[in-house]
Symmetry: D3
Subunit: 202 residues, 6 copies
């Protein structure tokens, strides 16, 4: 029987961070208008912080490491949102759901894939992508050649499949860290990307 | 392998509804500004529609049948949102999550209880209520006297416990109907109750 | 650690029931020779009682609401018995198993579908019907177009499929109510429909 | 998609059995009035038949191997019926449920423990016995000293606990053999022990 | 919360065993160089010991009961190792993994099938055999004609299928007995069959 | 139906690796006598390789990032072996089981924790550590304050708990990558640390 848990591990203050981490945190704050909690929560262990975000960027910002990806930015966030929901990770569903809505310019898709991706307004290709991601998430040991064939049939190549699996695996790590440590999403994320976009004046 | 499903059963048009049902539908439309899809989807079978909404009101609007309830309106919606998420019901999580946000005047709570009620900003009493609701949802045959004792310790009486179980059981029905039939939530629900409330002018 | 539970909620006495409910209870008693416990157990909340039995009749006695059904009376009870066993609901398996035996004039079929419908002496069409009912019972969010196609192949139309799903969903409600409240089956049900039928004299 | 399976392995005829097996089969037939299918189904492999029934008797008829048991005959059948239901074994639930009703002189108990032993009219000691049997059946690797302590508290000693576990383990074997091979219960079992017992004349 | 359990039941001493059992134990000791713990652990109940090893030999040493088997000795141990791992039985995985390595002259295969048989260096036929064994182990009630057809396609006949199922069922019994009673594998087993085989001098 | 899969992604050759990665690979080869497959398999994506091994070292070689850990080297490998077995990851169980045997100078412990850590010859403190690791592995969203309290009672502090959770989370990533990509353990690992240690001459 327990009450809701604020983070079980106190986050360091920005001023106390190592220079490289502080610089990145301030950059994110500048861009987003706030510091997503994961940036501070993980900073209490700088070596892990650096590895975590290096890994994150290698997968989620492939151009930052000099490679292309057959997945769109929105599709990558779709994988994160779907598998994080399967892992019941409050932080990642809320934070990456927000990014997904923004990238896809679709205020509905994040809730749809989080609750039941089978009912989401996504393409058959994306449905196959998420089916595979959930298999890697829940029963990776049962992945078979037939799973690769199903994805090839939708035009994914083996590098794309590596991306789907690796994003799923990486956020499986992130989900477990966030849940065990009691990391809560910033309130800002809940509303991001939901408002109907005002048409810019011509 | 399937594409997202629009409702598998065409809904009748409002003008073709039996009088009593049409009256209720128009009343809801008047109040909400739109007709929630469940009101039309189920109306293709009027007898089931009438029983469904009579049951709904007996549980969710207890004063309409002349009784009080120890649960608040928000708590009732909290049960619906949490157990509907356990059943992966897109319609009910989105629609009742909206109502929950409005009743609780809390734009965050619906996503929290849907994703992981253990991390939600709710009271220990509400946590116990949701633990029990999930047990009724997932393993009702394992309910034991100890479960009643745990709820009594939080001040729930046996009528309150009946309410928790019955709401869970009723929306378990609703979840299965919505999922099997491909009922999609109205887009309006996704955003309801999320916007920071503008302060009324003095 | 608990002992067997008699109903956790005392049932009202027949004389104290509202007129419409008392009339129905007496009618059932007249016909069956006893009052099935569900009629009294739910009567402590008359509004819920009325909605429950209205819903029940709309699904299980379709002619009472002016419609036909592609399912036989026995098939409807087969769905109830099979899914109630999946939910480990003692009341519904025993009570509806009895009715199933009577409608099917088959003293063996209820135990067969309750324990393992794959071994039951039923038609391939009925096997497909129960496979679908169990999917709605256990994983309604995974229902796909392919499930509809499988049923169409056995001659079920979409109205029949609605019946299968709705009966499953409704008794899922009933199962949870009976289990949580400790409702026990009347002893009379256990033996009903089991005795070899004596041949009427010519 | 399959139709109900009569036994997948043809049983030998009584006249073709080895002498020792035929003698036992005829003895059972004499006593029961029919030959339970397991006696013929397993006889197609005489060495396995002999080991199976030797094991059966060592556990279920302890006096036949010169030892006492702290479990009654009815309690042993209660274990078989409960765990066979957990394994969805049609043959064993029907056949041993019949024997359970007879030994306990209770026409209701077999259906109760098969559907949900938590609701059965059994003693707290028997409830603890069945909780343990189900743990051995479903998660034997999680058995811990605390499970032994719980049984000691109800007066079971370590030999009784061995009996509970061994009966569960043995019928787990039997359940798998019956289900895989499509062994069906004799129709006679379904009704045995259900009829109210006529009082013998004084 | 518990500490590792040495066997919960003291084993008898060899000198105190009944003659037939002592003779067999000494024979095994002579051959293996040590007495596998199962031979002593079960000997505390001689009648069960005799039935257990008679059953074991009927399945695992078919020539001892005058029949052939379409499975090799190594394949039989492969079934034992794989299904015992699914049941988390420390004794049987370690002891039969050792025998599997020796029979197959393959120091790697036992760990492979125990951890994930889908990745093991085995033939497609053996893969199908283990898929079926795991189905009998985990969901025997779902075995269907299609499972038989899949095995027939790999050249297994119905007697071979009986062998696969019966070995799985028998070691399911053994797994539960070993786990519940705290039977530990002899240290000798862990290393057996792992060392690269020295070539015998010519 | 599939045959065993050699790695689905061809590994680069050592000579083609970026300098920093080649240097590390050669260093490992020098030390271990062979190159563990993970070093080459992941090197096809250098940025991910660098992040992976930086993260690995931050958790598994804490002194390399200037911090102490309350867990021993053996305990860290125990966590890896146990949780990788729960994820059915052939590569990690075999490779880290080898390292565990070496660190603990115990040829038996790896198989024990992989098959059933409840039966392993480990301390109660280590048992509690592995119980928690498995909870983070399988149900991280259910971690509660009570889990922290249970570990505190065994002398673990919050940094130790972070270590347990983070190692579990990181190898959950590793397990999914290895399984989905078909990464096989080097044959050398299977035997490492199993041979009884020869006493060095005095």
């Amino acid at each position: 029987m327990s009450t809701p848990t604020p983070s079980r591990y106190p986050a360091p203050e920005i001023k106390d961070l190592p220079d490289d981490i502080r610089a990145k945190v301030l950059e994110v704050q500048e861009k987003a208008g706030f510091v997503p909690n994961v940036f501070l929560a993980f900073a209490r262990r700088p070596a892990e912080w650096r590895a975590f975000f290096a890994y994150h960027d290698a997968l989620m910002v492939p151009e930052s490491v000099g490679r292309d990806s057959g997945l769109t930015k929105g599709e990558r966030e779709m994988i994160v949102t779907t598998t994080s929901a399967a892992n019941h990770c409050l932080y990642c569903v809320v934070a990456h759901g927000a990014i997904l809505r923004i990238y896809e310019k679709n205020p509905l898709v994040a809730d749809q894939v989080a609750i039941n991706h089978r009912k989401a307004d996504i393409s058959p290709r994306q449905r196959a992508m998420l089916d595979f991601a959930l298999k890697v998430c829940n029963q990776s040991h049962e992945v078979e050649d037939a799973d690769f064939a199903a994805l090839h049939a939708h035009g994914f190549n083996d590098e794309d499949i590596w991306d789907i699996a690796a994003i799923t695996a990486f956020f499986g790590l992130s989900n477990r860290m966030a849940s065990f440590s009691g990391m809560m999403p910033n309130p800002e994320f809940y509303l991001m990307g939901r408002a109907p976009k005002a048409k810019p004046a011509a």
